[in-house]
Amino acid sequence: MNFDTNLIVSIMPELARAFGVTLLTWGVGVIGAAILGFLVAVGRRYGSAWLGYPLWLCVEVIRGTPFLIQLFLLYYGGPFVGLSLEPIPAGLLGLTVYGAAYFSEIFRAGFEAVPPGHVEAAECVGLNRRQIVRRILIPEMTMLVLPASVNMAIILLKETAVLSIITVPELTLVISAIGSQQYAFVESLFLLALFYWGLVELSGRLGRYMEARLSKYRFATA
């Protein structure tokens, strides 16, 4: 294998831009997915059955179909129902909805893992439903769901590569385009893998650091 380092240097600016798009879609996608997923989890837990059943169905359908197909349907099928989106907004929306389905399940399990006695203790000292969610459930849940959430964020990072099929100019699209123009497939794919792996490694470390910082909040034993 013969590496052309000059080539890599010459495409740096383009790469930097693509890297930025990947980071942006990832960051916005993860935050959007976490927020939407949280709302879905709250809706399913505290809402009526009229809200809960459709939400359940959406979550099941999204988790039961490939992201690639969802994205195709959104981008190429959207205009037929009056939803014409540019590639980046479409990609963000797709990633957010896809991630939210999984995040909602993580949060649902998180809610259930908070011991009922912690909520009863709060009721006994007079906290109302809203105060209990805000002061007790959300903070306790955050610790419980942190490992699964970091994992989900990493999965979503890798899913951003799928956005290339709807022409979002992120890393995978840009690097594979360069690869085919320059007949340098191996170099480009190698570089691509390195980028993703570096990011995954970094976010894994960040997650473990946060877990360590929060460990004093862990559940106490008698």
């Binding site: 709060a122 006994c124 002061r135 903070p139 004093k216 106490a220 034993t221 008698a222």
Partner: protein, 263 residues
């Protein structure tokens, strides 16, 4: 005669089909310690949880210092539910301590004790923490104020839980087996806190398997069996002879267990 601190009238509790309390009538006198004893599954926790309105009675009424808790007598004799604000007001006279402590793991001891003052009563942080410190001192944990529950022993956690309940200045304290998940050495420190509360004249209802504590500290003992109140009375009346045969049987299992521990 003064109004009882708690008055339970004809309390029936069903979980689905199963009736676990079959019409309980019980008065908790002001300023005294009442112990609820009875075999496992007899309904002690359920009765206590009804008094804290953590469970809703299927039928019957509970009065806290004369005021109806949760449900008031209705026109046709059927209890009617009171508005939420009214329920909260009556309930605020009660402090509850759980077997599992139930401290909030993301708050320090001080945070646990001051939380309701800040969030519910709008007391400023400084003042709430000052008031919380007074309670932590009372349970002998002032120097542990900054510790998280995971950094405290079981006995310390339970004392923080007692301080958390006391911070709201309840008129009545309910304890559900407060020492059952503690090692014997840690049991003593919690019982000591409860003894000093009793000495200060706090009205207390204690579900306990500590028969020694019951005999020494309680003015009234209520013996529950299969969802019925078999007898209430002073420790002398309950433990003295002649005894109810069911109580004898119940105490025997305790003596056996105690003897087994000595061997």
């Amino acid at each position: 005669m003064t109004t009882p601190a708690i008055s339970v009238k004809g309390l029936i509790k069903r979980f689905g089909e199963a009736e676990v309390l079959h019409g309980i009538d019980l008065d908790i006198p002001q300023g005294q310690v009442t112990c609820l004893i009875g075999p496992s599954g007899s309904g002690k926790s359920t009765l206590l949880r009804c008094m804290a309105f953590l469970e809703e009675a299927t039928d019957g009424l509970i009065f806290i210092n004369g005021e109806p808790l949760g449900f008031a007598p209705g026109p046709q004799g059927k209890p009617v539910r009171l508005p939420a604000a009214r329920i909260r007001a009556v309930r605020s006279q009660i402090g509850m301590v759980f077997q599992q402590f139930n401290l909030w793991p993301h708050m320090t001891a001080l945070g646990n004790v001051s939380e309701a003052l800040k969030t519910v009563h709008g007391v400023r942080k400084n003042e709430a923490e000052e008031r919380a410190m007074i309670q932590l001192k009372k349970v002998g944990l002032a120097e542990r104020a900054g510790h998280y529950p995971s950094q405290l022993s079981g006995g310390q956690q339970q004392r923080v839980a007692i301080a958390r309940a006391l911070a709201l200045e309840p008129k009545i304290m309910l304890f559900d087996e407060p020492t059952s998940s503690l090692d014997p050495e840690l049991t003593g420190e919690v019982l000591n806190v409860m003894r000093s509360l009793a000495a200060d004249g706090m009205t207390m209802v204690v579900v306990s398997h500590e028969i020694g504590f019951a005999a020494a500290v309680c003015q009234q003992i209520a013996f529950l069996d299969h969802g019925k109140l078999l007898m209430t009375g002073t420790p002398q009346q309950i433990f003295g002879k002649p005894r109810h045969p069911r109580l004898d049987q119940f105490l025997d299992t305790y003596l056996d267990r105690g003897a087994a521990m000595l061997v």
